[in-house]
């Protein structure tokens, strides 16, 4: 493991390269994110944005380079406790349960306590105005509704770093606004967002280009 100095940064990526077989998807990416900073990974489909998010979340290992979250190796238990992620929203819930039951499940995994889990879910539901959506069984919910539940899951417990993969893709204008307001309210939360939409880039204020 390469030694990386984090110096208070929430996210430090140094020389990240990720290959799948002989195909190099990400090459020598460097990125440093301070608390509260938001960055858009911008580029067309297949350019490696989601791969970077997965390397930060820890579900993929870098082929070369290093990724650290608040000084912890990406994917370690400590790093995972600091990261909220919404990676592949539409297939990441138990479809037979309601959005709320799913959120409670993930909140219990994160916090352990039943009481705190219920409180955190209630807070995020109110903030994102999700009460009606969360009451629906997931297999009856639309893509946009599921995407909002996925955002709620990523925000549970105000993590230091939020990873969002095309989070506005299926959202209507009101839901998009609620998403941005929720992210902007969290002034100490850093965000890495993969997108190919100009509006997302503008709201982030900082962009890393991913070529075709």
């Amino acid at each position: 493991m390469t030694s990386v100095s984090t110096n208070g940064s929430v996210l430090v990526i140094e020389g990240l390269t990720r290959r799948f077989g002989g195909h190099e998807v990400v090459r020598s990416l460097d990125l440093r994110l301070e608390p509260g900073e938001k960055v858009a990974l911008w580029g067309p489909n297949g350019s490696g944005k989601s791969t970077v998010l997965r390397c930060i979340a820890g579900t993929l290992l870098p082929s070369e380079g290093a990724v650290r979250v608040c000084g912890h190796e990406a994917g370690s238990l400590d790093a995972r406790a600091l990261v909220g992620a919404s990676l592949s929203q539409e297939r990441s819930f138990d479809m037979r349960l309601t959005g709320r039951a799913n959120l409670l499940f993930f909140a219990r995994l994160r916090f352990g306590s039943e009481r705190i889990a219920a409180l955190k879910v209630q807070e995020v539901e109110e903030e994102l105005e999700l009460e009606a959506i969360a009451a629906e069984t997931v297999n009856r919910a639309s893509s946009g509704m599921i995407q909002q539940v996925a955002l709620a899951r990523a925000l549970l417990g105000d993590p230091a770093l939020v990873l969002l993969d095309e989070p506005t893709r299926s959202l209507d204008a009101d839901a998009r606004e609620r998403l941005w307001q929720a992210l902007e309210r969290r002034r100490r939360t850093s965000v890495v967002l993969a997108t190919h939409l100009d509006e997302d880039v503008k709201r982030c204020g900082r962009r890393v280009d991913f070529p075709t």
Partner: protein, 275 residues
């Protein structure tokens, strides 16, 4: 990149394990008909063996205190379910999570792999314990099996040490499923062979001579014999329990290490979410 520290082997936190078990129960509860059919199929299976036993009137194994072939096979079927669930539960649950797309969402949560494996395998294991209890209840109350000599403490102890020993095997098979994806046939064949060799359906003395030495050292043999002794003799189960306990103590950390390596392999290969 050193991946060993990413999924450390830590003692599981019970509330995380129970959270995973509860979600599975909540999800399974929505399939009420499947739940009922599963139980009915098991009881129909018992009845087939009951009538075979009446037709053949075979006394299975007097060394184990078993009075009839049906008594022998009743315990075999009930316990095969429990052992099968302990040894394949995680593998099938990993497969389901891959299919439904929830595995990655679980892997980014702050839970250890031991919690994840125990939590994912927990519901099928508890369900199989309940099913075994129903079978034994049906066998005792409706089909004439005598549980008058049963040492229930021995029975529960044997189940627990069997769960530990075969749970370790289950964790290894869960890792295999994670890496090879469509490993159902391999997992099914392996556990079926363990049942046959261990004496689930007939005594190992009926196996070919060349196979008997292998059958004598198969862990399922200790589970089946110990459980039959606890149920039908009410004694002499402790040696089997100690052997299974030792197998469990030795194999549990090794199995968890293997599972962690399997997860790291999929993270390196980029196949964690593939099915």
């Amino acid at each position: 990149m050193a991946a060993a520290s990413t999924f450390p082997l830590k003692p599981p936190r019970l509330n995380r394990v129970l959270t995973l078990v509860r979600r599975e129960y909540a999800s399974r509860r929505t399939y009420r008909l499947a739940f009922l059919l599963d139980l009915m199929f098991g009881i129909a299976n018992l009845l087939v063996y009951y009538f075979i036993s009446r037709t053949l009137e075979v006394a299975a194994d007097s060394n184990l205190g078993v009075s009839s072939y049906f008594a022998y096979v009743l315990v075999g079927i009930a316990i095969t379910n429990v052992i099968g669930s302990a040894s394949t539960g995680l593998a099938y649950r990993v497969r389901e999570e891959q299919f439904t797309g929830t595995l990655e969402a679980l892997m980014v949560q702050p839970v250890t792999l031991t919690e994840l494996s125990a939590g994912l395998a927990g519901y099928p294991f508890l369900f199989s314990m309940g099913r075994a209890a129903v079978y034994i209840l049906v066998g005792g109350s409706l089909l004439g099996i005598d549980f008058g000599r049963t040492d229930w403490f021995g029975f529960v102890t044997m189940l627990l040490v069997s769960a530990l020993a075969f749970g370790s095997l289950g964790i290894i098979l869960g890792g295999v499923m994670l890496v090879v994806k469509r490993g159902e046939a391999l997992v099914g064949l392996f556990t079926y062979a363990l049942g046959i060799l261990g004496g689930a359906f007939f005594p190992i003395s009926t196996l070919p001579d060349w196979l008997q030495p292998i059958a004598r050292i198969v862990p399922t043999r200790f589970a089946f014999e110990g459980l039959r002794r606890a149920i039908f003799l009410g004694e002499d189960w402790a040696n089997d329990a100690v052997i299974l306990l030792l197998i469990g103590i030795i194999s549990f950390p090794l199995a968890n290490y293997f599972f962690a390596r399997a997860v790291d392999h999929t993270r390196r290969a980029g196949t964690l979410t593939q099915y």
